[in-house]
């Protein structure tokens, strides 16, 4: 097993483990958030292994640095307690859903080896770096790149409208 592969296994295990602990942690929302951060960071490591450097950095910056912080922030701000969330109905349906999802994932995993080619394309110079991806963003993907600004504006306005304390 090469160093890269063992790194991958390490981070994959870390990601799955912390993801599970996020979902299964029933007591503590902040701990869930922290688990999520660990997942994110391990995924960033996997991205680096996949030569996606820019994505890896942005993963940490945006997910780790902004999104999860925001989660934690809200948890602290609202001081949410567990009994704020009453037990739900339709437990049977949910159990069924879970079983279905698990089954589907297993099925997908079984299908994967046949569906994917064995060979991998040769990577161009600078693949996944900020120059490569950035150039793509500003040329071929200029439209989505620019359009994202409007999306962010709407999120900005929306978040302010919804969370603003005073109504005037």
């Amino acid at each position: 097993m090469s160093a890269e592969l063992s790194l991958f296994y390490f981070f994959a295990a870390l990601a799955v483990g912390s993801a599970l602990s996020m979902v299964l942690n029933l007591r503590n929302t902040v701990a869930s958030a922290m688990s999520l951060v660990i997942t994110m960071v391990s995924l960033a490591a996997v991205y680096v292994l996949m030569e996606a450097h820019l994505v890896a950095v942005l993963q940490i910056m945006v997910y780790g640095g902004a999104i999860v912080v925001l989660f934690v922030f809200v948890v602290m701000l609202l001081n949410l307690r567990q009994d704020d969330f009453p037990p739900g109905r339709q437990r049977g349906a949910k159990a069924l859903g879970v079983v279905l999802v698990v089954f589907a994932v297993i099925k997908l995993l079984a299908l994967l080896p046949a569906a994917l080619p064995d060979t991998v394309a040769a990577l161009p110079e600078g693949f996944g770096g900020y120059r490569d991806v950035g150039t793509a963003l500003f040329t071929r993907f200029i439209l989505p790149f620019e359009a994202t600004s409007l999306l962010l504006l709407s999120a900005l306005v929306g978040a302010v409208v919804l969370a603003k304390r005073r109504l005037d």
Binding site: F8, A19, V74, L80, V102, F127
Partner: protein
Amino acid sequence: MEIPIELVVSLSAILFGIGVVGALVRRNIIVILMSIELMLNAVNLAFVAFARMHGTNDGHVFVLIVITVAAAEVAVGLGIVISLFRNRDTTNVDDVSLLKW
């Protein structure tokens, strides 16, 4: 190539599954949102892996857009949660049929 792509995609499928399950079974809105973020992360991982496999950076661009959108979604989602819980304090708690669907 050191890491087989199918391993990475498998990892993404597992994470996606965990995310879906989390979003399905958890009652806590924040955790549901986090599970959805986990789903998006799994998507990103799949994109990155496939980008590696195809050797095109379209996947990376897609991931960047997804990350941006995820940030926007979270901002709005948490805004909604805040406005809801602000109201809840001032009105009758019994009225909240919150997430009982």
